[in-house]
């Protein structure tokens, strides 16, 4: 987008901003400033979904801890919270005391809860697949990187990865983060990179070895030849 309405600068706000503006008009700036933290004033609407008793839209002052939010919505056994969507921040148990704010865990409002019954790698695999689909293909790191990550991650999910694959994914993800053209490519590897940092043991458990593992399954790569050899021998 290079120009706004009628070719003039145009502000597009979401409903939450209009509500905040209206409330400030009605109640005054001091009222607004009395909520939240010094650098993140006011409140935030959170769309809470996933493994909790009471999903829904909640309003919290900035500065509220993830732990408090989880308690309020009845998340009994949380393993991980994905804040701010697939491109957001993945929060594990050790970080539940972190707070919703611009300085700490920034969010547009998405708050997905995953309890201990969930298989995290599978969820991260979904996020990776989502970005393979979402990448527009304009720039090299996002176009190629999203698919490279998916290949490696599928290898991990099928139990054929080594520590070298984790290192390679880390490297590709970091490259995407700093060299992508837009925010999509720069944030596409977030779930992967966060989980590599916050849940290292989960990955260790999935590794076939610490050494090298082949990129493909030999038996699969021989299927075509076996079929042809069989039919050749019969004819």
């Amino acid at each position: 987008m290079n120009a706004g309405y009628l070719g003039l600068p145009t502000v597009v706000n979401n409903v939450e901003s209009f509500v905040a503006a209206a409330m400030i008009m009605e109640q005054g700036a001091d009222w607004f400033l009395s909520r939240g933290t010094e650098t993140s004033t006011g409140t935030k609407l959170l769309s809470i979904s996933g493994d909790c008793a009471k999903p829904g839209v909640y309003e919290y002052p900035f500065g509220t801890s993830i732990r408090k939010i989880l308690e309020d919505c009845g998340a009994d056994d949380p393993q991980m919270v994905q804040v701010a969507g697939a491109a957001g921040t993945m929060i594990g148990e050790t970080d539940f005391d972190r707070c919703i704010s611009f300085d700490d865990v920034a969010t547009g409002g998405s708050f997905m809860i995953f309890d201990r019954s969930r298989d995290l790698p599978e969820i991260i695999g979904n996020f990776i697949a989502f970005f393979v689909h979402e990448s527009c293909g304009f720039c090299t790191p996002c176009r190629v990187g999203t698919s490279l990550l998916q290949k490696r991650f599928d290898k991990l999910l099928s139990g054929r990865a080594s520590r070298l694959d984790l290192e390679k994914m880390q490297q590709i993800g970091t490259l995407m983060k700093v060299t992508s053209h837009c925010g999509l490519g720069a944030t596409a590897p977030n779930a992967l990179l966060d989980s590599l940092k916050n849940f290292p043991s989960m990955y260790e458990d999935r590794l076939a070895s610490t050494q090298f593992e082949p990129a493909f399954i030999l038996e699969d790569a021989l299927q075509e030849a076996r079929t042809l050899a069989d039919s050749g021998a019969k004819s």
Binding site: H133, S135, G137, C139, T140, P141, V144, L148, Q171, T179
Partner: protein
Amino acid sequence: MNLKAAARLGGRIGHFSIDGVRLPFREGQTIMAAAMEAGVYIPHLCYNPEFTPHGSCRLCVVRSNGRHLAACTTPAAEGLEVESHTDELQEQRRELLQMLFVEGNHVCPACEKSGACQLQAVAYYCGMLAPELTYFYPQRTVDASHPDIAIDYNRCILCELCVRASREADGKNVFSIADRGIHAHLQINSSTGKLRDSDLEVTDKAAHVCPTGAILPRNLGYNIPIGKRPYDQKPISLAGDVADHEESS
């Protein structure tokens, strides 16, 4: 005012630096344009000073104020300190090049562009020895339907230089990019999708700007023998871009 217009008008002169070397720039010029004018080489594939900067290949990644930027789309600014030839950035460029090499089918020993190919040349310059990633080996085709120009889609790196040249220089619209993500590919805007049925002519700029061997004028492939080609002799930082050599050939 856009960057190109400002640069054309001359603009005010300022100074910035790349790797500690002070360079002049005209107001509105990008880091890349100013560097190129001053003879400072920043690796690039999708940039060609004749066309609107694109910023898609990301090879011209530089660092300033702790941020990574594309030199071809970022305006130079007074006092800006830019890092370009650092170990970190050269490593990142090698990784980007590896991505381009595994994404397509780049069989240098069998390519008539070898030695005069910018993808190769930039990879040589950045010191890439091998693409250490998993290969895609995509199924792509060759379009040899046109009498004077051939397209080998195996070698396309989606820099869109042909797309831009056709629209901006030739006043045509022969090429576009179809599909998205890893499926994005170059397509011909003709009723059959074949080059033969497009209005591309061998004298068009678009036939001479491809940095790889994807778009090749036919019948002159081996006029310059392997071993005597621009990048067989000198690194791209000294030999210049592919498009410069196309001009003179």
